[in-house]
Each structure stands twice: as structure tokens, then as C-alpha cells.
């Protein structure tokens, strides 16, 4: 059974001025452990789709099933990471990364220790009692990752998690996230604008058309690239052709 089934999902945003279709007849299945990237023009509904999968908004039409059950009832199995870290500035790093545990009632000395261990493992040492403003952008995004992973979700939704970082930090974090997810065998959906990032990190890339979002094409990444870390993949000879192909595909989407 696929871990995630998106079945004929449509979503319309209704304001007092008009009703706008954001997602149009969208269907997709994702297998356990897969890493998918979503690429598409701005405003094509990628964030909307993630919110629906996370059970935060209800699709106007269609269903989203996680392990065969309604998404809304499965919130606990999902971790969501946003573009900016959205660490709570008034909480210490420890309080920030354990908030999920507390809210879901999973907080115990054991889970707390595990979470802090993960924090250290990911390269954040001696920051437990610091406040977010004392950390650099990259460190904050790492803490946000730990917060998301702390509740042990089965599916990770990553909404442009690297786009606010500078180039080198971003490349390094890509590797880190990729390795962490592989290690814990998580299923992940990544939204990005960076074609290179999509190719480097994922198993399949879903290309969206412009408003209303619809799947234009699903591109499978060659096994040769899948095997490498994102940084290596960017240097791999197979990288350039697939980059060119996706670039042209997106160009054609934007022109329509």
C-alpha cells in the first residue's frame, strides 16, 4: 500500500472577490521511503498541496489518504518544515525542538534525550539553552529540522527549506538533510524553485503547470544520481542533461 495517495484533489480559494482554482484534478501516489520534489511556477499551488497533505486545510474536492486513512486523522504522522525556520524566538533551542513532543503528549525524559542527541548529531552542540536570535540562519534551519523530526513523523513535508540560506550553507544543508532522511528512512516531499536541488536530492520530480496547479509531468531521476549525495550529484555528468530538460519544460510551462 502506498504511504500517500492523492486522489483527484481539487482546491479552490474563495474570497469575497472571486473563487480561484489553486489545484486541479491532482492525483499522485508516493511509496514509503521515496523522496519527491515539486517544481513549478510561483503560485501554482505547491504550498496548498502540502497543507492539504498535512491535514491543515481540507481539499474542496477529492481525497488524500495516508496509509489508507483520511489525512485529517493522520496529522501525527506528518512533519512540516517551512521556508523560514519559524523557531519561536521566546523559547530556547531545547524548548523549541521539544515543543512537538509536548503538544503531542510524547514528552518524556527518553524522547527529550533522543531529540537533544539528534540536535548534537546534526552539528548543533552547546546551543540547547541559547535563543534562536543567537544562531545563524543555517543553524536555525537545522534546529527546525530537528523540531520536525522529534515527533518521529513518517512523511516529511519540506516547503523551500533552503531558499532563505546563502549558497554554500544551502549546499551543505542539502547533504545533511538528505543523509538524515536516508538514515531514518523517511518519506519526503520537497518544494523548491531550484532545479538543481530537485535533481540532486530526489527520486522523482513532479513538474506543475501554472495556475491552477496540475501535474505536467513526473520525471524520474536516474539511479546514477540517486546514489550520490546532493553535492556529488550536482557534479555528476548525468546532471546537466536532466537539468536542461527540466529547464526547457519549465520554460514552456511559464510561457503558456
Amino acid at each position: 500500500m502506498p504511504i500517500l495517495t492523492i486522489d483527484q484533489v481539487m482546491h479552490a480559494y474563495v474570497t469575497n472577490q472571486s473563487a480561484v482554482l489553486a489545484l486541479n484534478h491532482l492525483s499522485l501516489t508516493v511509496e514509503r521511503g521515496e523522496f519527491l520534489s515539486f517544481l513549478g511556477p510561483s503560485g501554482c499551488g505547491k504550498t496548498t498541496l502540502l497543507s492539504i497533505i498535512a491535514g491543515l486545510i481540507e481539499p474542496t474536492k477529492g481525497r488524500v489518504l495516508i496509509e489508507g486513512k483520511e489525512a485529517k486523522t493522520m496529522r501525527q504522522t506528518i512533519g512540516y518544515m517551512l521556508q523560514h525556520d519559524y523557531l519561536f524566538p521566546w523559547k530556547t533551542i531545547e524548548q523549541n525542538v521539544t515543543i512537538g513532543l509536548k503538544l503531542t503528549g510524547k514528552y518524556s525524559e527518553k524522547t527529550r534525550k533522543q531529540t537533544l542527541a539528534l540536535l548534537h548529531q546534526i552539528g548543533l552542540r552547546d546551543v540547547d539553552d541559547r535563543y534562536p536570535y543567537e544562531l545563524s540562519g543555517g543553524m536555525r534551519q537545522r534546529a527546525a529540522l530537528v523540531r520536525t523530526l522529534a515527533t518521529d513523523p513518517k512523511i516529511l513535508l519540506l516547503d523551500e527549506p533552503f531558499s532563505a540560506l546563502d549558497y554554500q550553507t544551502k549546499l551543505k544543508l542539502e547533504d545533511l538533510v538528505w543523509e538524515t532522511l536516508k538514515q531514518y528512512r523517511k518519506t519526503a516531499l520537497l518544494v523548491t524553485h531550484d532545479i538543481g536541488e530537485a535533481i540532486a536530492m530526489s527520486d522523482r520530480i513532479v513538474l506543475f503547470t501554472a495556475k491552477p496547479g496540475k501535474i505536467k509531468r513526473v520525471v524520474s531521476v536516474p539511479d546514477s544520481l540517486k546514489a550520490c549525495t546532493p553535492f556529488q550529484a550536482r557534479q555528476h555528468p548525468d546532471f546537466s542533461p536532466i537539468f536542461q530538460m527540466i529547464w526547457k519544460e519549465l520554460e514552456s510551462i511559464e510561457q503558456t
Binding site: S51, H84, G100
Partner: protein, 268 residues
């Protein structure tokens, strides 16, 4: 000359410059105070201004000493300070509670919106007499005046800041299945903390206005009473002493709140 010495020298030059600058500023500040008070004194002595109406720094000073000696200044000041602090606390807390209510019940907020606008625009000092009728001619009325003047603006400002809290913080909490109550305690309230503190600064000033106006209407003690009584018996020295005391105390309270603000908000 090595790099460190070079940097040190530049730094020393800068500090020397800054010190000079600071001295100049202090100098002019002192000059202003001295000029102000001595011009006042001289103008009063030479009758350029009517010493009856404008008194003089020396008479104010003598009155100050007398009133400090017989402890009356202390008791008047204490009364007014107590009223102001009480009015300030009541106004602020009530305002924040109202804001929480409006946030929790969006429909209530929509319903009361036009009334809030009216109440906010209304010059609250005009309500003084109604307060006396409602609460009686006593200290409660004065404290109420101090509170009422800040309550609506606090409600509006704090409610606005509740609404402006980045929705993504709520999104983060939602992904962990948080309840609405938890949204409030975990995100809305702490995120609005800086706004609340800066409302405090405004409220300090407003509470002073409320209490002074209140004391004008009913009081047998307090700095506002000293002003009124001073006028009644044409003792302008008393009036000006009270005004100076008010200026002094309200500035101190304001500085306290500012200092508090700085301590708390540095992490934002």
C-alpha cells in the same frame, strides 16, 4: 607599527572624539537647565514676568524644602503615585483581557468593532463627571479615570498585534495538533509581548493624565489636588511645584518602563 597598535590608536582617537562630543552635549544640556532656571529667577526678580503668576525657582525650592520637612509633599506624592500605578495596572490588564476575548471570538470582535472606534475616538476625560456619579466621589473614581483612559487603546493595539502574529507560527503548532488554547499560550501571547510592553509606555502617560484630571474633579490629597488648591488660594508656587513633581515622576515612571522594555525585548 603593528596592526594591533594601529587599531588601538584609531580606537583611542574615536573614544576621545566621542568623549568630546558627549561633553559638548552635556555642556549644552546643563546650559539649557541653568539658563532656563536663572532666566526664570531673574525675570521674576526684575518683574519682567509677574512673580505672582510665574513664581520663581527660588520660591519653589523653598516651598519644596518646607513641604519635604513637614512630610506633606511625600504624602501627596504617594497618593498620586498609588492612584497612577493602580490605574495603569488595571487599564493594561483589562485591555489585554478584552483583546484576548476579541481574538477568541472573532464574531464578537466584528460586532463590537464600530463601538470600539467610537469609544477610542471619544475624549475620555469628558467622562469624568459620569464616573463620579457611578463610583462616588472617592479614590476609586480617580483610579477608574486613570484606567479608563488607557483601556480602549490597549484593547485595540493588543488585539491588532494578536491578529498580526505570523500565521506560520500557528501552522507549526497545528502540525503538532495543538488546540486553540495552545495557539494562544504558545504563540499569540508570547509573540505579542513586545507590543504589549510598548503599550505600557503609552499607558503610563495616559494614566497620569487620567489621574490628574480625576484629582482635579475629586480629591483632598495628591498632586492634582495641590494644583487645584494652589490656584484657589493663588499660590502659584504650589501649582508650579506640583507640576515639576509631576514632570519628574512621570519621566521616572516612563524611563522605568523603557528600561523594562529594553531588558525584555532584546531577543526580538
Amino acid at each position: 607599527m603593528n596592526k594591533h597598535e594601529w587599531l588601538q590608536r584609531i580606537y583611542d582617537q574615536h573614544i576621545a572624539y566621542e568623549k568630546r562630543e558627549k561633553r559638548i552635549v552635556r555642556f549644552f544640556q546643563t546650559i539649557i537647565v541653568i539658563a532656563f532656571f536663572s532666566l526664570w529667577e531673574i525675570a521674576s526678580r526684575f518683574h519682567w514676568i509677574d512673580p505672582l503668576l510665574f513664581s520663581s525657582p527660588s520660591s519653589i525650592w523653598h516651598l519644596f524644602i518646607t513641604k519635604v520637612r513637614d512630610h506633606t509633599l511625600f504624602s501627596h506624592t504617594t497618593i498620586t503615585l498609588t492612584e497612577t500605578v493602580l490605574g495603569f495596572i488595571v487599564g493594561t490588564i483589562a485591555g489585554i483581557c478584552f483583546a484576548a476575548l476579541l481574538w477568541w471570538f472573532p464574531r464578537v470582535s466584528k460586532i463590537v468593532d464600530p463601538y470600539l472606534v467610537i469609544l477610542n475616538a471619544m475624549p475620555k476625560v469628558a467622562l469624568g463627571p459620569i464616573l463620579i456619579v457611578a463610583l462616588g466621589p472617592n479614590m476609586t473614581s480617580i483610579v477608574a479615570m486613570g484606567a479608563i483612559i488607557s483601556i480602549i487603546i490597549t484593547t485595540i493595539v493588543v488585539y491588532t498585534s494578536f491578529k498580526e502574529v505570523d500565521a506560520n507560527y500557528i501552522k507549526v503548532l497545528q502540525t503538532f495538533g495543538a488546540t486553540k488554547r495552545q495557539w494562544f499560550t504558545e504563540a499569540i501571547l508570547p509573540a505579542s509581548f513586545p507590543t504589549m510592553i510598548s503599550t505600557l509606555k503609552v499607558n503610563v502617560g495616559l494614566s497620569w493624565v487620567g489621574v490628574i484630571v480625576g484629582e482635579f474633579l475629586v480629591s483632598k490629597q495628591g498632586l492634582g489636588y495641590m494644583i487645584i488648591y494652589g490656584f484657589q488660594v493663588f499660590n502659584f508656587t504650589l501649582v508650579l511645584l506640583s507640576l515639576l513633581m509631576i514632570a519628574l515622576l512621570s519621566s521616572i515612571m516612563y524611563q522605568l518602563v523603557s528600561w523594562f522594555e529594553k531588558k525584555l525585548i532584546k531577543r526580538a
